[in-house]
C-alpha cells in the first residue's frame, strides 16, 4: 500500500512538471479554443483542465487553466515562448501568461506517502487556546485582505488600463478615419494643390 501511494505521488509530481499554468484567460475561452490555439506550437497537449474558482467573487472574470503536455521539455518551450512573445487568445491586447505548474494548483492531487494526520481540540480552558483563537482571527483577516486586494487593486487597475487603451485605440482609429476620408473625398488633393505639395511624394497614395 505504501508503495502504491508513493508511486501515485511520484506520477503526480511528474505530471506537475510537464504541466503549464495559464492565466489571464478570457472567460469565453473553452477547451476547444485552447486546443486550437496551441496547435500552432510545437508540442502535443494531452489534457486541459480549467481551475475552478468557486468562491472567488464573480466580478473577477479571468479564467485559469492547466495544460498538460507530453513531456517537460515541451512545457518549458511553451513557457519560454509565451514569455518572449505576448500571445493572444480570443481577444487582444491582453496577453496570456504561462508558468510552470505547482502542486497546489491541482485539486485532485494524491496524498503524499507517509503522512499522518494529527488533530486535537482546544477548549477555552487550555492555555494556548487564546493563541489558537488569535491564529484563527489572523487567518480570517488575511483571507479578507486577499479578497480586498483582488477587488480594489487588481481589478481596478485592470479596468483602468483597459479603459485607457480603449481611448487610445479610439483616437488612433479616428485619426485613421480622418485621413482615409480626406484621401477618398479628394480634399487631400485640393489641400495638396493649395500648399504645393506633390501628392505622389506621400507614400501609399
Amino acid at each position: 500500500m505504501g508503495s502504491e501511494t508513493e508511486k501515485e505521488y511520484a506520477a503526480f509530481e511528474e505530471k506537475v512538471k510537464r504541466t503549464v499554468y495559464l492565466d489571464n484567460l478570457s472567460p469565453q475561452v473553452s477547451e476547444e479554443v485552447l486546443r486550437k490555439a496551441f496547435k500552432q506550437f510545437h508540442g502535443t497537449l494531452t489534457n486541459i483542465h480549467f481551475i475552478p474558482s468557486y468562491t472567488e467573487p464573480s466580478y473577477y472574470s479571468a479564467k485559469f487553466a492547466l495544460l498538460e503536455f507530453e513531456n517537460q521539455d515541451q512545457a518549458k518551450e511553451i513557457i519560454d515562448l509565451l514569455s518572449d512573445f505576448p500571445f493572444m487568445i480570443l481577444g487582444m491586447p491582453r496577453p496570456v501568461r504561462a508558468f510552470p505548474a505547482e502542486p497546489q494548483m491541482f485539486d485532485d492531487r494524491p496524498s503524499k506517502a507517509g503522512r499522518r494526520l494529527e488533530l486535537y481540540w482546544l477548549d477555552p480552558k487550555d492555555s494556548d487556546f487564546d493563541v489558537a483563537q488569535q491564529l484563527k482571527n489572523l487567518a480570517e483577516k488575511h483571507v479578507a485582505q486577499q479578497s480586498f486586494l483582488l477587488k480594489q487593486k487588481q481589478l481596478e487597475e485592470e479596468e483602468k488600463l483597459s479603459k485607457q487603451q480603449a481611448e487610445t485605440l479610439n483616437t488612433h482609429y479616428q485619426k485613421l478615419e480622418m485621413i482615409n476620408s480626406a484621401l477618398s473625398s479628394g480634399s487631400a488633393k485640393d489641400l495638396a494643390r493649395l500648399y504645393g505639395v506633390n501628392m505622389t511624394d506621400v507614400s501609399g497614395i
Binding site: S58, Q104, W121, A132
Partner: protein
Amino acid sequence: MSQLMEENLETFKWGIKMVTDDSEIKSYKSFRYQGVQYSLHDCVYLYREGAKDTDIGKLVKMWESKAGAKRGRVIWFFRPADVCNFIREYEPSWNELFLASGEGRGVSNIIPLEAIVGKCNVVCTAKDRRNTLLSKSDLAKANYYVFHIFDVGDLRISDKFPDIIDKIKVERLFNWSQNNPKGNLECRTGLSAGSQLKVAENPTNTAEKPTKIEILHASENFEIRDKPKANVECRNDPSANALLKVKEKPTYTAEKHIKAEVLSVHANLEHHTLEAPPLKKRKILPETDFPSPSQDTRRWFFALSWEDKLKEAHEQGTVIHLYNLDLSHTALDVQEMISKAFKVKAHAKIMPRRHSFDIYGHALVIFESKDDADLIMCLLKDRCLVVGEGRPLVACKATLNEPYMTRNFPGHLIMDKLKHKFNNNKRKAVFASHCAQANTIEHEMAMQWRMLQKRSDLWWEALFKGQAKEFSDCQSQMMKDRTDELNRTAVEVTFAHESSDAPNRRVERPPAIKSDEPNITAVEVTSVPESPVERPQSASHPTLL
C-alpha cells in the same frame, strides 16, 4: 467565439465502425457527441423529458438506421428510488445501482442517441468470478457501483449474476479496465468457437492463470421495452410512463447475429488484476453502518457533477468553506479529518491555490444536512480544532459565485466600427490566436499589460509574504506554549552555571528543557537572568538562601 461554442454543442460524429453482415444498418463501436467520446459498454446518463433525475444505462449497441436516425440500445441500471418498494429489507447506499436482468419489460430499451447527456462511471463490485475487481483508485473515481441485479420478472434483487442479460453475455457488462480499448469487435474468422477467455478473479495468482480468447455471439431483437416505472410506486416519483424521447418505434423483427467477437484483453487483464489489492482490504459490501473512515479511505464522488452538487448544497445550506489548511492536504485528508473530529460523513474538494506564496489551503465541504453544517461551524468557532503543527481550522459560510460566462473581460478590446465594416463585406471576422508582432499598436498595448501583470505579481507577493510572516510569528508562539504545557508535569530543575563575571547574562534555554526556575547559583540569589520565555506558574521552586 459563440460560433465555435454552438458548433460544439450539436456535433455528433460516429467513430469506429463495426463490421457486420447487415448492409442496411451500420453498427458502431464509438461516437462523439457534444464533445464527449462514448464507446460501446460505456455507462451513460439519459434524460427523459419531464423526469426529475437522469436514467443510467449501459450502451450495448450503437447504430445508424437506414433513415439516418442514430440509435442505441441500453441495459438499464435502476436507482434505489426505482426499486425501493420491492426491496424493503435492504438499504442501498445512495450511490448504488442495480443492474436490470431477467425476462420482462424494463431490462433494456432502444434509445435515440441524442438523449444522452453525459458519461457515467459505474463500477461493478460483485464478487463474481467473471468480474474483474478494480483498484482502489478506480473505485474512488466511480460515480456509482453495482453489486446486485434487479430481476424484473421476480421483482427481487440478487447478488447472483446470471449468464445472459437481455441476450448479452454478462461478462460484457462487468468491469472493463481503463486501458482496455473495449476489445476488438472486428470479425475474425478462423477462430474456433470453443476457446474461452478465463478472467482471473483472484488477484494474487494472476500470472499463472491461462487466458484464452472468448467469442461472443449476440443476437438482437429490437423491440422497444418500457421501463417498468408504472409498476413501481415510489414515494417521490409518481408513475411516469417511461418512454424515452423516441419519436418513432422501429421494430426490427429479424434476428441479427454479430459475428465472432474477439476480446483481446489478455495483457490488460493481467496488468489489471495485479493492481487490484487483496479482497479482504477492499470490503465494499453495502453495510448499514458506515465503515469507519480510517479503514475505508476511498470516497465516492457524487453522481451529478461536483458543480451541480455544489449548487444544490449551497441552496440547501449544507456547504462550508474551510480554510487554514496546510497546502499539502488533499480532499481525502479533509474528509478524514471531518469524520475523525465530528463523526459525520462529508464530501470535500480542495480549492486550488493559484498564487505561489499563498500559505492558506482552502476546501469546500458538503455535509449531508444543514444541521450538520451549522453544528460544525459553531463548534469550530467556539473551540479550536488544530491540525498538524498548529493550524486551527476556520470555517465560514460558503458564498458561491455565478458562472462567469457573460462577464466582460477587461483588456479585450472590441472595435465595433470595424465589425460593421466586415459585416458589410459579408466577412465573418474569426479571431485566430496569435502572438503579437512587434511594431504594432497591439504589441505596444500588450507590453503595457505585461507591465501591469508584473506589478500585480509584485503586490501579491508582498502581501502573501507579509501574511506568511505574521502567521508564522503567531504560530511559533502557539507551538512554544504547547511544548511548555507538555513539559509542565515533569518537575525538573536545572541550574545553569553562571560565570562569575557576568551575573546578568541571559541564559538561553531550549524550549524542551523544563527550566522555568530562575537560575540560581548555590550562593547568589540576586542575579536572575532575564528569560525570553513566558513563565508559566509553576510549582515551588527551590530557593536557596
